[in-house]
Symmetry: C2
Subunit: 188 residues, 2 copies
Amino acid sequence: MGRWEPGAGDRLREAALALYLERGFEQTMVADIADRAGVTARTFFRYFADKREVLFDQAAEIAEKSLAALEAAPASASTLEVVAAALDAVVDLIGSDRELARKRQAVIMANAELRERELIKLAQMSAELADGLRRRGAGDTEAGLAAETGAAVYRVAFQRWVDAADDLDLHEAVRQAFAQLRTLTASR
Amino acid sequence: MGRWEPGAGDRLREAALALYLERGFEQTMVADIADRAGVTARTFFRYFADKREVLFDQAAEIAEKSLAALEAAPASASTLEVVAAALDAVVDLIGSDRELARKRQAVIMANAELRERELIKLAQMSAELADGLRRRGAGDTEAGLAAETGAAVYRVAFQRWVDAADDLDLHEAVRQAFAQLRTLTASR
């Protein structure tokens, strides 16, 4: 058996999410996950630091890709266009598998500790985004406001996408939420 | 000594904040706080459930007053005007004592567990605000977006107010943040 097994990471993730939903996150042991995925616990720990990391291991890649998109946005882009570019990069990573996103969301919402962790990760991402906007020359308050507003748009669009019974593209949901924000602020 | 001592709650709060800043939150015991305030530990527990509650005991009143303002807003008010009315009620409670707000903020920012608790309280308030908007007839996505955007406006304005070297009114900071949001969304 090699150090990495083809597809083991994906199998482990699916097995973990299925078990978290069936038994609850607390009640699931790493050995159970490995068992269901047909690998050893040793193999599990080659992919994930612990059972919580199965849910949060994409955070670093999401932060990296969204900041790269922010840096790559043209100098002519408005602050909110830069934020939209960063969100598009997040959607590129998250938006292709709604079933997976649904399961992850259901697991997180069922557990107070996981909800807290998710809130903290989102707040960190928003703070990093604001720092990136400041590096591009946005004012201090403007950067904070644009990043926090972008996070709000993303959360609302994501929830709508996860809850939608019909086909809905996450890119489209984000675009619609931005449009709705414009309507809201214009009518005040 | 009566069950309640005049001013003991305020003295305890001031003593607690001073000690949290001097020694750190973890290192401060309830007995130290009571000592500094010139009361017994028994008296402390008549005012606060534990040393963390000194920082968060206003949350229930803030939620109650802001929801009352939301309910009281005229039917003709736009969704974001209703949110602004709810935020005004929050500012009425928070905005009169910047020194106190500064100290509280410094204590919370210095401690990961307190930062998490603050994030959770803010997320709960945003969710309650969204529910209130739905009860007033706002669409599901619109309510979520308006509440989350309002929370973003408030956080940014509050941070600016706390950081400001000069005189700044928190009501005014919130108004300016709303205006900045309109500029941001209009220029996209």
